[in-house]
Symmetry: C2
Subunit: 577 residues, 2 copies
C-alpha cells in the first residue's frame, strides 16, 4: 500500500503548449511524465509504474514464446553500421557521437548490427539454431520535429527481438509465434487492437505486419474485416474484385453542354447521373515532366500512395498545372476525360471503372461532358493503352478481398511491427553457419519491435474521457484508489487506512489518498490519474456506516456497509482482470 | 525450467587479451557478456539474468526504505549542466553530443541536474518534503582507459537515488535509512562487505560513506575494525594515539660511522637498534620547488595521500633528486635526519615519532648516523618548527581510533557510495521551497549510488575458484543445474527432464543441460557458469538408481536415490538462501 502524501504524484491543471494529443496532455497533467528536452522525457513514478506493468506483461509473453532476454548497449560503434551499410544510408535521425578519442559511435535506434555481431561470434552450426533474443531497452531516433509526447519521442523504450534461423520454415514458425505473443500482450493489456499487413517497401521482400491499438484519435487509418480478420493500412488495403455489370450496350455517345460544371457533384446534378455513373479523370505530372492520366469512378478517391507505386520511376507526382492539362486535353481543368486525349501520357485506369457501361465523363472540351460512353465502342484507344490497376482508397463497406464481407475503417496507433528480414544483415556482416551438408550459409533473420511508451500512450488515447485517464486494470499504476475524504477526522482516516492496508495485504496494488486536501481536489485528481476502482471513505456516507465504491469507467457510485467494502472491492478488481 | 539447448549460453575456453581481472575473464568465458567496443558490453542472457536478480533485490530494499522509483533519460540537455556549473568543470569523461539541430547534450553520468529540474518545477512547499527518488538506469562515463570489464566500463547500469529535504535532520534520517538499505542489499546478496568513511574532497562538507565488497583481488585497501565496525579507505584511515614511552632521558648523543648503510634494515643491523627505534627522514620537492622534510618511525611507511593533504598548496609532490637532498642535508641521500638541517623547508613529523626517546637517525653527513637522539635536547629546532601530523599508512594490527582494538586491512571493490550533498545543486539551480515561516529556502539534498554491474563483478571477484564462478544463490542466474549426462539414453534423459520440470514447478529456477555434449564438456561448463546446486542424472550412478548431488562451492558429491533427489535439492537450496 502506497500513501499519496509520501509518494511523488504532482498533478497540474495546466496543459503544456506543445501537447497536441490527448495522451500527452493527460500524462503531463496526471504527473506521469515531464519533458527534459524536445522529445526527451522523464518517466515520473506514476508513469514508470504503468510502464513496469506493461514491461512485465511483455516479458511474460516473450518468455512464454521461447524468446531469451538479454540487454545490448545504447552506444554502438560506427564500424558495425558501416559493415551493414546503414552508417551511410541512415539519415540525420541517427544520433552520431564522437568519443574523447574522436572515434565514431551512434546512440542506437535499433540493434540489428549489434545482435548480428554477437551471434556471428558465438554461433557456428545449424545445431545451435534457431533462437530468438529480445531486450527492453532505451533507444534514440533524432526526429526532426519530435511530437505527441511518448508517442513520437526521440529517446524511447522499446522491446526489440531478433531471431536467427537455418531455414525459412523455421523463421515462419517464430514469426507466427511472435504474432501470437503480440496478440496475447495486447489482450492481456485489455486493449482493442488490430493487425494489418504492412508495406515492406524499404526493406523489401518478405512479410511484415503492424499491430495497431485502435483509437478515434489514432494517427493512421486502417482497414479491417470484422468477419475474417483481414487488416491493412488504408494505403495498402485492397478490396474484392468489382462486380461485373453485364454487357448490355449503352445508347449512342452524346456530347452535353455543362457550362462551368467542373465538380463531380455539379455534373452529377446537371446530368441526373449518380456519381458512380461518372468517370473522374485526374492529370498528374511527374518530377521528370511526364504526364499521368488516371481515371477512377466518380464516387471514389484516388489513393496517392497506390498511384505513386504505379509509377515507380517517378520520385514524386503532383496534380498537373492548368497549362499542362490544356496541353493534353485541349480544355481547361475540369473537363478531362479518356476520350480523345491529344498527346503522350502514362495512362492508368482504376479497376472500379472497368465494368462501367454508358458512363459520363469530361469531353476534353470546355464546358462539355460526354454521356453513354462505352469503353470498347467510344474509348478503345485509352482502354487498350491504359494499365488497369487498383488505384483507389478502400473505404468503409467495401467488400473484403479475402472473404467478401463489408470492411470497416478504424483509426489506430502503431505499437508493434514484426518483420521477416531474411539475410540482409547476416549476408552483409558475414553472420553464417555450417549447414547439415557442411556448407556455409548466411543465417535467416526476423525482427520484432514493440513500442513500450507508445503502447501506454495508445492505451490512454483509447481509454480516457474529458476528466482524465481511464486505465485498463492491467496497465493501471494502481488497481484501487482509497480516498480518505476527511483525513482530519480520525475515525474515517483510520478506516481508510485500515481498508487500504488490508487490500494491500490481499495482494492488491493500492494507493491511499491521505493528503490534507479538499474533497474537490481529491475527486478531480482521482478522475485525472484514472485508477480503475475507487473507494471513498469519509463524509456523510461514512457517518451513515458506508463506503462509496465506483469504477472510473462509469463512476456510478454504490454505497456499501463498511464491513463489506473489502470483499466488494476484491470482486470489482477481479471482474476487470 | 530452461533447456540449455534452446537457450543462449555459449561458453569459451579463450581468455580475451584485454581481460585483466578474474571477474572479467570468467564473465566472458561463461558467456555472460560480450564486448561491443572499449568499455561497452552487451549483457548476454546468463549475465542479464543475474543482473535482473540483483536489480530485484535493490528495488525491494529501496522500496522498503521508502524510496520512489522513476526513470530519467540518458540524454540530457547542456543547459541544465551549465546551470549547475558542471558543464564547464566536468572533463572529458562527460560524453558530449550534438543533435541534428546542433544543440548540445550529454549522455548523463549522473542525474543531479535532471532530478533537481523536475523537483523545482513540481515541489513548492515544506509540506511536500521530504522524498527520495531512485532509478536503475544506464549511464555513460567516457573513461580514458576503460578496463576490468563491467567494473570500470564506459556504459554501465547504476541505481542512483536523490533525496530532498527541508532540514538537515531529515537528510540525516534518510541517509541512515539508505545506509541500512544498502547493508540489507549486500546481505541479501550473501556478499561480504564493509562500509568505510570516504573522502568528501571534491564535493566537500558533509558525510560520505563507501560500501566495499571485500575480495583479495579488490582494487582498494580498506582498514576495518572487527570489534567496533570502524572502517575507512587506507588512504584516510586513522589509528588510536601512539602510547607514551615515559620521560627517561637517553644517554648523550653520539655520532656513529655507518659507511654505505642507507637503508633502515642495514642501519638497524649495524647499530643493533630495532627499526622502531629509528627515525626515517624523507625529502620531497613540490611542483613549485619547495622542499618538504618528513620524518616517520623507521618501521612505518609514509602515506603519500596524507602527505599531499598536509601540503594543500602543492599540486603534486615527488621525492627530491640527489642534488636537492645535498642542498638541505649537506650529505648524499640515505643519511638525512632532523638534526642540523641547513636551509628552508616545510617540516613535517609523523605522530609515531613524537614519543620516541633516544632514537637513531641520519647525521646529515656522509656515512654517519646519530644515536641516543632526544627531540628536546638534540633536535629542538626541528621539533619546534615541524607540524606534527598523522602521515603514515595505517596497517594490520594498528589500534582502532574508535575502540583501540586491532584493525584489519582488507581489499575491496567499491560498489556503493552515499553522500550528503547539502544545497550545492539546489542553490545553483534555484530548487527552493517555502518553509513554515513563509521564507524561501534551497532544498537540502542527498544522493545514493549503487553500481549494478560492478556489484555483480565484485561478487565474482569474491566468489570463484580456478575452474569458474561460485555464485551466491541470490545472484545466481539459476539456482539448480540438472545435468542430463547421457542424453542419448532415453531413460536417464527422461529422469533428468522430469526432475528439472518438477523442481521448476516447485518454484525453483532450474537450468537443464540437455545438450548433446560429452560429460567432460558438461562438467567443465557447469564449473565455469557456477550454478550453486547441481544434480547429475545419468551414467553408472543412474544405472545404480542414484542421482549425484553437489554444491558448486565444495563439489562434494552425494549419491541419493532417484526418488529422494527432489526433496534433497529443495533442502540444499533452502540452506543457501
Amino acid at each position: 500500500m502506497i500513501r499519496w502524501s509520501s509518494w511523488y504524484i504532482h498533478t497540474t491543471r495546466e496543459i503544456p503548449a506543445d501537447a497536441e494529443v490527448v495522451s500527452h496532455q493527460l500524462m503531463v497533467r496526471a504527473g506521469m511524465t515531464r519533458k527534459v528536452a524536445a522529445g526527451i522525457y522523464s518517466y515520473l513514478p506514476l508513469g514508470w509504474r504503468s510502464l513496469r506493468k506493461l514491461m512485465d506483461i511483455v516479458r511474460r509473453e516473450m518468455d512464454a514464446a521461447g524468446a531469451v532476454e538479454l540487454a545490448m548497449p545504447a552506444v554502438q560503434p560506427a564500424e558495425l553500421w558501416v559493415e551493414s551499410g546503414r552508417w551511410q544510408k541512415y539519415g540525420k535521425e541517427l544520433l552520431r557521437i564522437r568519443d574523447r578519442h574522436d572515434r565514431e559511435f551512434c546512440f542506437g535506434p535499433t540493434h540489428e548490427e549489434v545482435v548480428t555481431d554477437i551471434v556471428r561470434r558465438d554461433v557456428k552450426s545449424y545445431r545451435q539454431l534457431p533462437f530468438n533474443l529480445y531486450q527492453i531497452q532505451t533507444k534514440f531516433r533524432d526526429e526532426i520535429r519530435p511530437r505527441f509526447g511518448w508517442m513520437r519521442g526521440r529517446e524511447f523504450l522499446m522491446k526489440d527481438a531478433y531471431s536467427f534461423h537455418a531455414a525459412p520454415e523455421s523463421l515462419d514458425a517464430t514469426y507466427e509465434a511472435m504474432d501470437a505473443a503480440y496478440r496475447r500482450v495486447f489482450e492481456a493489456c485489455r486493449l482493442e487492437y488490430t493487425v494489418v499487413e504492412a508495406d515492406t517497401g524499404t526493406i523489401g521482400g518478405s512479410s511484415s505486419h503492424e499491430f495497431m491499438v485502435t483509437a478515434a484519435t489514432g494517427e493512421s487509418a486502417v482497414v479491417h474485416c470484422p468477419a475474417c480478420g483481414y487488416g491493412a493500412n488504408q494505403e495498402k488495403a485492397e478490396r474484392a474484385a468489382w462486380p461485373s455489370v453485364g454487357a448490355a450496350a449503352p445508347p449512342p455517345l452524346e456530347r452535353v453542354p455543362t457550362p462551368g460544371r467542373t465538380t463531380i457533384a455539379d455534373v452529377s446534378a446537371l446530368l441526373g447521373v449518380p456519381a458512380d455513373g461518372l468517370v473522374k479523370t485526374l492529370i498528374y505530372e511527374t518530377d521528370r515532366g511526364e504526364l499521368v492520366v488516371a481515371v477512377v469512378r466518380g464516387d471514389r478517391e484516388i489513393n496517392e500512395v497506390k498511384l505513386q507505386n504505379a509509377v515507380p520511376d517517378a520520385l514524386h507526382l503532383r496534380l498537373a498545372p492548368e497549362e499542362r492539362v490544356r496541353e493534353i486535353t485541349g480544355a481547361p481543368a475540369g473537363f478531362a476525360g479518356p476520350v480523345g486525349l491529344r498527346g503522350a501520357a502514362i495512362l492508368l485506369a482504376d479497376l472500379s471503372t472497368r465494368e462501367m457501361r454508358g458512363f459520363a465523363c469530361g469531353a476534353n472540351e470546355a464546358d462539355a461532358h460526354l454521356v453513354n460512353v462505352d469503353w470498347q465502342r467510344d474509348a478503345a484507344a485509352f482502354a487498350g493503352a491504359a494499365r488497369w490497376l487498383d488505384l483507389v482508397t478502400v473505404g468503409e463497406g467495401d467488400p473484403c478481398p479475402r472473404c467478401g464481407e463489408a470492411l470497416a475503417v478504424v483509426r489506430g496507433i502503431e505499437v508493434g511491427h514484426i518483420f521477416k528480414l531474411g539475410d540482409r544483415y547476416s549476408r552483409a556482416m558475414q553472420c553464417t553457419f555450417t549447414d547439415e551438408a557442411g556448407a556455409e550459409q548466411p543465417m535467416i533473420m526476423g525482427c520484432y519491435g514493440l513500442g513500450i511508451g507508445r503502447t501506454l500512450a495508445a492505451a490512454i488515447e483509447q481509454n480516457h474521457d474529458a476528466d482524465g485517464i481511464i486505465w485498463p486494470l492491467p496497465l493501471a499504476p494502481f488497481s484501487v484508489l482509497v480516498v480518505s475524504l476527511t483525513p482530519k477526522d480520525p475515525e474515517s482516516a483510520r478506516a481508510a487506512e485500515a481498508l487500504a492496508t488490508s487490500l494491500g495485504a490481499r495482494g492488491l496494488d493500492v494507493l491511499l489518498d491521505d493528503r490534507d486536501e479538499r474533497p474537490g481536489v481529491k475527486f478531480k485528481d482521482a478522475d485525472l490519474i484514472g485508477i480503475p476502482v475507487r473507494a471513498v471513505v469519509g463524509g456523510k456516507s461514512f457517518a451513515a456506516g458506508s463506503i462509496e465504491l465506483s469504477l472510473r469507467r462509469d463512476r456510478e457510485k454504490v454505497a456499501v456497509p463498511v464491513g463489506e467494502a473489502e470483499a466488494r472491492l476484491l470482486d470489482l478488481v477481479d471482474r476487470l482482470r
